[in-house]
Symmetry: D2
Subunit: 298 residues, 4 copies
């Protein structure tokens, strides 16, 4: 991929102390290089970003050639849903701990950005999901990690049915269901017993949340699958649809949630030394501690 | 797929009572239709198969246009490894309970076979694995379900390292490792916490067996992945390599096991009403009993 | 235990069709034997229960010598919380499927009741939990199965800290926490990865729900343990406290939920042929189907 | 517990470099205090232990008032099985990483030992298991962690039946079964999906290894339970009985393994600041890293 980055947007909670400092460093660095910088800055932080053009978050995708998300994975997920339609590539700088998505560390961020601006990067396409309520004129919901059906406040279990490509799969009872991309497989889905799916695998995964039937296990599907989730509850239970951690819709009994691959994907740019497995080892404490790693001790 | 089946082989423990009867019915039926039938029959059962041409198991793939495996999934797995190189398609008739692979029931087998012989079937390509010891002139090992590295009699844990496409993945400690195809995802891998992988997903899964580190979780990889497993044990532990349930090799410390997709795949023929999800529901007791399925009772 | 049962209460949704019929049979049978029968009957079903004394649910424990719960496990759980303070024994008749707690089947219920009335039964003490908000004059919450801390509608994860007997245990992140009795170990806790705890074990179990940290595993504690759960969330997340499936309280950040054994226990009466392991086998589909149970097939 | 420790034994691989040095420091320290020291020293390390009385491992329990195990948990497990019959208390010094059982760190070991010798310690009784083959005059097998039934080299699954207190529990298929004490619950059993059991809980846990039936889950039992495991395999599969990691017996089809609490328990002495939950947090990486611990990032 060969691109020229003339206009770069900063994305994140620029008013937060932990984000403001690296964001200002990035801003100064980019301006020195003659690159236009866009930012959506809260009013009380505006003076710290005098050199940036202040634009509304929703307008960033239309103008920027590159978005730099600074914060945690949640920040990049939010950016991804906003820029996906325009296919603006994303770089993630973590503001503290390494993230699965914000893989550029603050210490090396200026060098990493220079390399990326020089075209020296790994570009990676990450699948996104689109969801919607069937027979409803509602807007589509997008997610880079996962679309989650979850029970409401009442604590009542959900009864729901799943179909894949118009074929009945199963009738489930439990706390809900996650449909995750490979990117999302290391997020909530992992906590619910799902597998880790390497980002190059062309698949989705359907993970039941705390299922009543113990054999109701995670199911990996082709990424082309059309998933339908029908809420069965007769008892008046309500359910929520949560996209990348944000509750965006409600479901009533008999409502049908459809989930499939979004037309748009997200392009993540990484430094050349990006290593997915190293990220896994770091985030999952692999190899390190464990209960005991000396020979013969178990 | 349009094929003509002139020579059909019967595969299975033809001397076992539960297999002999359906096998003889199939034999009579095929002969009536003028089809040549091959069979590898033990001497004490030979008289029951007078109408078949008795050939050695290893020669069946060279001559048959179609192999009918009668028995359990283990029988079909064994047949698959023998016929894969010649790409002879397989049909599986279960001799009692429904199998994941032997999905034709004895009650409908003659009708199902007639349909298949008439070209009225679903043909499905199933990925196979090839494994071998690096730097060894040993023959390659094949598997339709899984290649398993497992600890030996001593009960000592294995320490081993995994690499994918020449990139270091993790250092593991535990009872071993399963590398499974989508077909094998519902076999041993499922007992070890792996996900169910729909057969159309172009992927493999690496499932650690009883890992010491609790975050050492199943990892789904592109089917094109080249996997290397290096046995680290300094303490003299030995390990076994088991292919589709048959122990076929041993590993000593520092030995390297390589696993990747086999060039050959297996073609399974199913009746038109074949339904993968129905198989899952049946084999995993989905939807049925569970602990409790009445509304509001949990 | 030698008791005389002169006044027996019927408990359940007596207006529901599936409950009404067995309830009326039991009523007629008990009246024929000269036993006084109490029932809390909805007005539209009153005519079907002319022979019973209609009392308010809350007054039943004060007068009855025995409570017969008809329905599912949820019905008996509800009865248990109402009668525990008075130590009135309970019998559970399932209205359809076998329950863990409603173990008397409708077909044998009259014989079973006769035996129980004749003093021919197994009496079993089941531990109950008491929970409350620290520093609040609120009433105590009781549960026979479990006290659950769960996230609210927002879908935001909960951060919370646990202490046992005034000793810090862990800082958790996830969907919540279950504290269950042995009785509750086969309910929600089992869906969340908890162990089955035989009812005679003098223990509680603390099961994290979908924990972010994969090594945050179920912890079995002595039944005498005093558990404190402190909600840490700074972000304004709210949490719910659910007792035996009923949401009974809310928690705000910094609130402290205390959980310990209730002073009262529940006495369940079972027919002499009651067999806990048979219940497990039946409810968990043990031994039966499974994926495959024939020799050598896996 | 008030004891006087006049004769103390050193236990461990005293010839190993990592153990020899702390062992010699302890030896010198104890001799300075006028305490007799016993040690089982390999001949090539004898000169480093001139001040100790060299005795055979098996004779240590008869003479020592206290055993100091230096090494990993495996070293202390081995010591426990040797001294349990005489009820000699144990202290565990880890030779590198913290162990669940060897909880005294080398840096503080001399201070910790002084405190313990002065009677300033926490004494803790830990349950042990006794196992044996029914109808065999074989010696009983003991374990502080676990008794494990595991499949042999052939890789064939085991079919076996369990009974508790002469009541049939389940028919299992899989890689085997672990029966663990609370002490062993954080060892192999944890890798197989078992719960953590606090050491004061009066219970055992039965954990199936990679069970074929997904609902075949860990079962916590009263510590008084008499467990019988009957090997069903008709197919000639053999099984091994492994005690605290050492394979000590074989089972043939129809053999019956009995497991129950041993009459003897082990007494562990800990420094006053011993904290079980801190050990768990340290060994299981609780609270620390995890995938991500910053607010709002998941």
């Amino acid at each position: 991929m060969s691109r020229e980055f003339k206009t770069v947007a900063l994305w994140g909670r620029l008013g937060d102390r932990s984000v403001m400092e690296p964001a200002q460093q990035v801003l100064a660095h980019l301006r020195k290089r003659g690159i236009a910088v866009l930012a959506s800055v809260p009013s009380d932080a505006a003076r710290g970003f005098d050199d940036a053009k202040h634009v509304d978050e929703r307008d960033i995708a239309a103008t920027a050639d590159l978005v730099i998300a600074i914060g945690g994975d949640g920040t990049l997920l939010h950016a991804a849903r906003n820029v996906a339609a325009r296919d603006v590539p994303l770089v993630g700088i973590n503001r503290g701990r390494l993230g699965f998505l914000t893989d550029v560390s603050p210490e090396h961020m200026l060098d990493s950005l220079d390399a990326i601006l020089a075209g020296n990067f790994l570009a990676e396409r990450r699948l996104m999901l689109a969801a919607g309520m069937e027979d409803t004129a509602g807007t589509a919901l997008f997610a880079l990690n996962d679309i989650v059906l979850q029970k409401g406040d009442t604590g009542r279990l959900l009864d729901f049915t799943t179909e894949v490509d118009d074929t009945y799969v199963n009738t489930h009872r439990g706390d809900g269901l996650i449909v995750a991309t490979p990117t999302g497989s290391t997020a909530y889905a992992l906590s619910c017993g799902g597998p880790i799916i390497q980002p190059n695998v062309d698949a989705l995964v359907m993970v039941p949340i705390c299922p009543h039937t113990l054999s109701d296990r995670p199911l990996v599907l082709p990424s082309s699958s059309k998933i339908r989730v029908i809420l069965d509850n007769a008892g008046g239970s309500d359910a929520h649809v949560v996209c990348d951690g944000e509750p965006l819709a409600r479901m009533a009994p008999a409502d049908v949630l459809t989930i499939s691959l979004a037309k748009q994907a997200v392009t993540l740019l990484h430094p050349r030394d990006y290593n997915y497995y190293e990220l896994l080892r770091s985030k999952l404490n692999w190899g390190r501690a464990g209960r005991d790693r000396q020979k013969g001790l178990r």
